[in-house]
């Protein structure tokens, strides 16, 4: 089995007022349970808004700390799920299910190196 990172990209700022967050969270949890039952789930988590991010760099041994996310832009990583799948088709299938639950958000599917620690 291979591991894949499913990243959820979402626009910065508060969600639209008409969004039924309760229903979405219920669906996300149900999908997580499906993943667990299928033996595909490894880890998942939702993130606070990108405005809460801090970037650390080290230059000549000196840490440099900056306020805000690493990438500029109007969309940032909002959460992620790590899954196990036999191949990309299996991973894309979970990606499609997650994207269905989170429509219209985009899900990026990316493979881990084979020696990723478990």
């Amino acid at each position: 089995m291979k591991q894949y990172l499913l990243s959820i990209y979402q626009p910065d700022g508060p969600p639209p007022a008409d969004l039924d967050l309760k229903r979405i969270m219920r669906d996300v949890h149900a999908l997580r349970d499906d993943m667990k039952r299928a033996g595909a789930w490894v880890f998942s988590g939702g993130l606070h808004d990108a405005s809460t991010a801090t970037v650390v760099r080290v230059n000549d041994g000196e840490p440099l700390i900056t306020d805000g996310p690493f990438t500029e832009g109007k969309e940032h990583l909002g959460g992620f799920t790590i899954i196990k799948a036999a191949d990309l088709d299996g991973a894309l299938d979970w990606g499609r299910k997650l994207a269905t639950v989170l429509t219209p958000l985009a899900i990026e599917v990316r493979p881990f190196h084979d020696d990723a620690t478990h």
Partner: protein, 414 residues
């Protein structure tokens, strides 16, 4: 040993093109590494070029090539194996017999090639990457040839192929014929890639020459292979028929000076009758299944054109009926535009222009070219001239642009 070679170099080259895809496919499946497979197959062909002229072509060239290439890979893996790899290598060595089996059973070899086709045309790869991979791995075209065909620098094409092979390996894009539920959509993807290769060959999207015959030939070869492998899919047969019927007109489509000749003006004696007969027989065979799809219907439309001895004998009513059917299964703006051409013949240019003006195809040069022709026929010369200008502006193929320019000049002079 006689001095007379038992097989010519050009015959070996022909076998190379014919067997490259299946040889690579079997080895990719066995060893799971595209680069390793490609390199070994190239080596095997180099060996064939040395040996076959004196030894003769083996009874199963594909079997010989696969066995030779496989032995190369095993030798190489053995040389490079570290102590830790010994165990993995033992497993590979054991698979020797399985490979032999696959080589003997031709149907299995066919399946391997089909698997590789679906890998090359996987939707996780960009369309231009799918096209390049298909030509490289299944067609055996060199990176330089593919680069030249698509007018990109060889280094760019090489990079594109390296990245694609890396993604197949690292993201583990499977070598598999998709499950029944995914098959229709995935097969549409494969057909689209083959048809795109054909169209790029038939009317190069840019450049000076109108056609790139090698791409047409390659697309038809892939279409034939796919039709052998998936005989039960009427759209596969439909695509092959469509390409054959269009390709049959190639000899009449370009005049001696390299300029474009429209369908209506072509000397139909120069059409390839053998291709037309084959294409028409395929059309009849797939339509008899009564599962119409866009490729079959477009093939049927072209079959009607090839039935007409002269342009004036064309059965436009039949063609319009087929376009109505096409609009029912695949209502695209381009199909609607082509249908309008048939409407012009059956109901007149005014009815056709009304349809064309309602289409959102502002960026497509043929939209403007067809509009220009309809305006010309309605005697609205200055509007026609402007529409020709719009078409010329959006057309990147020199031969087609010259044709449009001649029409534009004619209409301005009238």
């Amino acid at each position: 040993m006689s001095d007379q070679p038992l097989v010519s170099t050009s015959e070996i080259a022909r076998i190379f093109r014919e067997e490259y895809g299946r040889t690579v496919a079997v080895l990719v499946r066995r060893f799971g590494d595209i680069d390793l497979a490609e390199e070994a197959v190239q080596d095997a062909f180099a060996t064939a070029v040395q040996r076959w002229p004196s030894d003769g072509v083996p009874p199963s060239p594909a079997g010989w090539l696969i066995t030779t290439a496989r032995n190369r890979i095993i030798d190489r893996l053995r040389r490079e194996a570290s102590r830790d790899d010994r165990h993995a290598l033992a497993a590979v060595m054991q698979s020797r017999d399985d490979v032999e089996e696959e080589v003997v059973g031709d149907a299995d070899v066919g399946d391997e090639r089909l698997r590789l086709m679906f890998t090359c045309c996987h939707p996780a790869l960009a369309l231009n990457v799918q096209v390049a991979l298909t030509l490289r791995l299944l067609g055996g075209l060199t990176t330089e040839t593919i680069a030249r065909a698509f007018l990109v620098p060889p280094a760019t094409m090489a990079q594109r192929l390296v990245r694609a092979k890396g993604k197949i390996r690292d993201a583990r894009i499977p070598y598999r014929v998709p499950h029944a539920a995914d098959l229709p959509a995935r097969l549409r993807g494969v057909l689209a890639v083959i048809y795109l290769i054909f169209n790029e060959g038939y009317t190069a999207s840019s450049g000076e020459r109108l056609t790139r015959d090698d791409l047409c030939a390659e697309a038809i070869r892939l279409g034939r292979q796919l039709n052998d492998l998936m005989a039960g899919e009427p759209e596969v047969t439909g695509l092959l028929a469509l390409m054959l019927l269009i390709d049959a007109r190639r000899g009449a489509r370009v005049s001696a000076d390299g300029s474009l000749v429209r369908l209506a003006d072509q000397d139909r004696r120069h059409w390839n009758r053998a291709l037309i007969r084959e294409g028409q027989a395929l059309v009849r065979r797939c339509l008899a299944r009564n599962q119409p799809g866009p490729y079959q219907i477009q093939a049927a439309i072209n079959a009607v054109h090839s039935d007409a001895r002269a342009a004036a004998d064309t059965d436009w009513r039949q063609i319009l009926m087929l376009y109505d059917q096409l609009m029912a299964v695949a209502p695209t703006p381009v199909a609607a535009l082509n249908r309008a051409v048939a409407v012009a013949e059956v109901e007149g240019p005014h009815a056709a222009l009304t349809i064309v003006d309602g289409l959102d195809l502002e960026r497509y040069y043929l939209f403007h070219a067809i509009r220009a022709d309809l305006l010309r026929r309605l005697g609205r010369s200055s509007e026609a001239a402007r529409a020709y200008d719009a078409a010329i502006e959006r057309c990147d193929n020199t031969a087609e642009r010259d044709f449009l320019q001649r029409r534009q000049t004619e209409v301005q002079d009238s």
